[in-house]
Each structure stands twice: as C-alpha cells, then as structure tokens.
C-alpha cells in the first residue's frame, strides 16, 4: 500500500494533465489549473526542508571545525540575516531604501555578476582547447567557428566585400547557422522530445518508481 497509493495518484494525475492539453473545457481546465497552483504550496514545504538541511549541514561543519568552517559561518549568518531582515520588513521590503534591497543591490548582485563574469575567461580557455586541430572533424569545427565569428562582426564583411555576395563571410556564416547548425540542433531536440515523452510515460505508468524510495 505504501507504494501503490502514490503510484495510483501519479498515474491518475499524470493522465489527467495530459488530457488537459487536449481538452480546454472548464471541467478539465479548472482542476488542472488548481493542481498546478497547488505545486506552490508543496514547494513552500520543500523550502522548509531545504533550509533545515542547509542549517544542519553547516552547523555540523562549524561545530566540528571542518576545513573551511569559517565560510560555513558566513553562509549561516548571511542566511539568517537575510531571512530575519525580510521578515522584519514585511511588505515594505520593496521600498528602495529597505535593508533587503540594500542587501540585494550591494551584496547579492555584485557577487552574482562576479561569478557570471568568470564565464568570459572560461570560454577563452575552453575555446583554446576546442579549436586545436588534431583531427579532420576538429579542423571542420575550427573553420566553421572562424567563419561564424568573423562573419558576425563588421570587419568580416569588410574584408570580403570584394567577393560575390554568396561568398562573403556574412552570407557564409548565415548559411552555416541556418542550414547545418539548425538541422543538427533540431535532430537533437526531436530526439530529446521523444526521451521526455518516454520518461514521462514511464513515470506515469509506474515503471520508473525509484523516487518513492527503495523500500518495497
């Protein structure tokens, strides 16, 4: 029973949600909208569990003086401060002069931007490895990448402006993006869509059931 009831609920709700894609009538759309909205409540409970896990794991680390315990302390203090300030400010947190907004603008946003900006350096190092021509395929990749990169900046068109239009870098890069790139991308997307449907069906039919824990 411990497994049958959740599997039954999953199957019924899953089939109902598939049905709601084809039947717009209120007899189906209203309950389906309601079910989707109730997810928010489930997620709220999930955040309580997640928050408890964050505190437990990091308090343990601080208590046992694990390597990097100081960073754990900063994390816990940051978490608690943000939550307490948010609760204390209530609905006025959206006021531009609120402490919550200050935390967001002066701590969160710069740290977020710092992490994101690292991407530029990682792209450079990854590109350096990707464009080393060791095989025929790697050569094709490098040439295609060179055409696309040059074709997307004004200098690309400028240096090939003396060529016929169909041989200019701008035209070539557009052809690469529209034809071979798009064809490969769509093939991958179609395959992935089949995979999504198959996985969904397996979950609905209860064939993939490990999420219910291993106890039979």
């Amino acid at each position: 029973m411990k497994r049958q009831v959740p599997l039954f609920i999953t199957a019924v709700i899953g089939m109902f949600m598939i049905l709601s894609f084809f039947v717009p009538h209120q007899a189906v759309s209203v309950p389906s909208d309601f079910l989707q909205q109730t997810v928010v409540i489930l997620v709220a409970f999930g955040y309580v569990l997640g928050g408890a896990n964050v505190l437990k794991v990091n308090f343990d680390g601080i208590y046992k003086r694990q390597p990097g315990w100081f960073y754990r302390l900063v994390l816990v203090l940051g978490l608690l401060t943000t939550v307490i300030v948010g609760l204390a400010e209530g609905r006025s947190w959206q006021d531009p002069k609120s402490v919550s907004i200050w935390i967001y603008d002066h701590l969160y946003a710069p740290m977020n931007a710092t992490m994101f900006s690292l991407l530029a350096f990682f792209i450079a190092s990854a590109a350096f490895r990707a464009f080393r021509i060791r095989t025929f395929e790697a050569g094709l990749l490098a040439v295609a990448a060179l055409i696309v990169m040059l074709g997307r900046v004004p200098v690309g068109d400028m240096v090939t402006s003396w060529l016929p239009h169909s041989l200019q870098l701008g035209t070539l890069q557009q052809w690469i993006m529209d034809i071979p790139q798009n064809a490969a991308k769509r093939a991958i997307l179609m395959g992935a869509a089949m995979g999504v449907m198959a996985t969904g069906l397996r979950v609905i039919l209860g064939i993939e059931r490990s999420y219910l824990s291993g106890e039979d």
Binding site: H25, L49, N53, V57, F116, A130, A192, A198, T199, I207
Partner: protein, 391 residues
C-alpha cells in the same frame, strides 16, 4: 500686364487657400474623431471560454492626412446602457482585439471609442450580448493527439514484447559506460564522486532523468564503497535525490553505508549554486564529476573548474546550447536523448529498454511525416502542414 495681374491673383488665391486649409486642419485636429463602426465579435475557439475576438471598422477620420485619431478604447459592460469599463486599447490602424479577461457563460456588451487630442467619441451602436463558451476539444491539436496515442501504443507494445523475452538491442553508449569507469577511478584514488542533477526544478524532465540516473550511480558507488556528494538546487529534487541515493544503497545491499549528509540542498540561485559546487570541487577534490540534467550558463563554469582539478568528467544534457561546452570540457558527454536512455541502459530492465524501442519507432514515424510533408508542400498541397500546425 494682364499676365502679371493673373499671376498675382493666382498666387494670392494659393496663399489664401493654404491659409484656409491650415485653419481648417488646425480646427479639425482639436475636434474629437468620428466614431468607429461595424463592431463584430466571435467566441475565441479552442479555449476554456475565457476570451472573445472583436473586430471593427476604423473611424473615417483615419484616412485624413492629419488624422485626429490616436487609437481606440475597447469598452465593456454587462448591460447595453453601461456603465462602461475600458478593458483594452489599440493604436490607430489596429482594428481587432481579443478580450482575454471575460468570465465564461456571462453576457457582455462592447463598444469601441475612438480617441484623439480633440477628445473621444463612442461608437453610435453597442454590440452584444457577447458570450464566451468553452470547448471540449482543441481542434488544432488533433495531430498531437494522434502522435501521442501512437507513441503510447508503440511504447506499451514494445514494453510487453521485451517482457515476453524479445529484448531489443541497444547500441553501446560510451558516455554511460564511462560512468562506472569514472567511479572506479575515483575509488582507486580514494576520492568521492560528485553528482550534479542539473540546475532546474522537478518540472523539467531533464531533472527527472538526472535523478533516475542518480539511483544507478548511487548503486555503483555503494558497490565500490565510495562516498558520493549530491548538491541539489531546488527543494523538491532535493527530497527526491535523498530517496534516490537511499534506494541505490538499498538495492546494492549496503543500506548501512548510506550517509544522510551526502545529499545537500544548496540554493536555487544559479551562481550561488555554481559557487558552492566549484567550492566542493576545489576543496574536496572529487575523483569523478557527473553532470546529468538541465544546465544553462553554469555548464562551462562547472566543467572548466572540474577540468582544472583533473577529475574524470561525464556530462549529459538536452540543452542544445550547453552541449558544446560539455563536449569541450568533459571526457564524455551524453547528447540529448542519450540522457533519457541512460536509466534504461544502466538498469537493463526489459520494460525500460522496450520503451526506448517504442520511442525509436515513433522517431521513424516522424521522419516519414517530415518526408511526406516536404513532398506535399513541394506539390503545393498544404492540408497536411496545416493539420500539423498547433496552437
């Protein structure tokens, strides 16, 4: 002389006419525009009765060179005499609108009011009663329904067939085979395994696929007695990941080795999550990094940091834009559908493998449909393409 007189007279007349025209147009710019007319309505098809389509004839003043019409207000009331509420507005030249804020099975009355700098003029007549009703079937989705039914039929048939002993052949997928190799290497090095099930919530099927693979990975780490670390970005996948790892250890016959702190909730914030994982990579130096699920810009940050630590890396995602980053920075990459096939491949369970064959057969049907569509379109027969169009 008479010629000169005529010229003077003509130029005087032109100046007077121009002055008169300017005076009239200046005066008319301050007048309210002429009303719009001919408002018609229709119930928006294939919906839950929450919208109506409205179309009208423009104000005749729109055609003037200096038009006094700025746009139109769509006004609604529950009785023909008002009071009227503005529910939408359009710019000059736009003469149709869908009102998506109606209640189903309720009678409404509509009028269009033209407005401009000189004021506003309601239409001379009111249209109604207008009623939105819901439909039982979305007529534009028949093609999807046919393919879904076909897909379910094929999958169920091949599942039954595989259970009956005719297990289909599955080609070797190097990326999945590499998972065990990676865990073996981490074991030899005496280091943990890091598993990241994507950065999205459970409503993404890639996350579901990543979590299903996690169970198989946990089974292998349990067998090799190697610790596993699973940082998770959302709370619902976090609770499922805990169950998956527990289940893996249970099925490997080593439930006592399960470490409740192996699965951690980190943060749904993209770069906070990245910071936490790169921290784990640099501090704990896992021997193997396995990324399976949905990834965005963080894919390269994770994979490049992982590469710098020297760990063996296996990734899988259906996010086409992130695949090149994983291909470059990881040792093995599962591309698109391989991610969804991984759980069937790793478990080898006939039912799961049968579902792969069903999906492949549908792919064949889609290829055939694309070929037929191309031929029909070439012959200028558009019926099939229109049938495949959905809303």
């Amino acid at each position: 002389m008479p010629r000169r007189r005529h010229a003077a007279f003509a130029s005087g007349l032109a100046v007077s006419a121009a002055f008169l025209l300017l005076t009239i147009s200046a005066a008319s710019a301050q007048l309210p525009p002429a009303p719009a007319s001919g408002l018609t309505w229709s119930d928006l098809p294939n919906d839950a009765g929450r919208a109506v389509s409205l179309a009208w004839h423009p104000s005749p003043d729109e055609s003037l060179a200096t038009s006094p019409v700025t746009g139109y207000y769509v006004e609604r009331s529950t009785s023909p005499g008002g009071p009227w509420t503005v529910v939408d507005s359009t710019a000059r030249g736009v003469v149709s609108r869908d009102d998506q804020s109606v209640r189903r099975d309720t009678d409404y009355f509509y009028r269009i009011t033209a407005y401009g700098p000189g004021g506003r003029t309601p239409a001379l007549s009111v249209t109604g009663p207008v009623r939105a009703t819901s439909q039982w079937i979305n007529q534009t989705r028949w093609s999807v329904l046919v393919f879904v039914v076909l897909f379910f039929g094929l999958v169920l048939y091949y599942m039954a067939s595989a259970q009956g002993g005719r297990k289909p052949f599955v080609r070797r997928i190097a990326g999945i085979d590499a998972i065990e190799e990676a865990i073996g290497r981490a074991t030899e090095m005496g280091r943990p395994v890091l598993y990241v099930p994507g950065i999205q919530d459970i409503d993404q099927m890639e996350t579901v696929a990543g979590l299903v693979i996690l169970e198989n990975v946990a089974k292998i780490t349990a067998r090799y007695e190697t610790p596993i670390k699973v940082p998770v970005s959302y709370p619902i996948p976090f609770t499922i990941a805990e169950e998956m790892v527990k289940s893996g250890y249970l099925h490997a016959g080593k439930p006592e080795q399960y470490d409740p702190t192996s699965v951690n909730f980190v943060s749904p914030e993209q770069f906070a999550f990245v910071a936490a994982i790169t921290g784990i990579m640099l501090r704990d130096k896992p021997g193997a990094h396995i990324f399976m699920g949905s990834f965005y810009a963080e894919s390269l940050l994770l994979a490049e940091t992982g590469f710098s630590t020297g760990a063996i890396q296996v990734a899988g995602t259906a996010q086409v834009a992130q695949l090149p980053f994983f291909v470059v920075a990881c040792d093995y990459t599962l591309i698109g559908e391989e991610l969804y096939a991984a759980s069937a491949y790793l478990s080898g369970e006939p039912k799961l493998v049968g579902s792969l064959k069903g999906a492949d057969m549908l792919k064949l049907c889609i290829i055939a449909a694309i070929a037929v569509g191309c031929v029909l379109e070439t012959l200028r027969m558009h019926g099939f393409t229109q049938w495949m169009n959905t809303q």
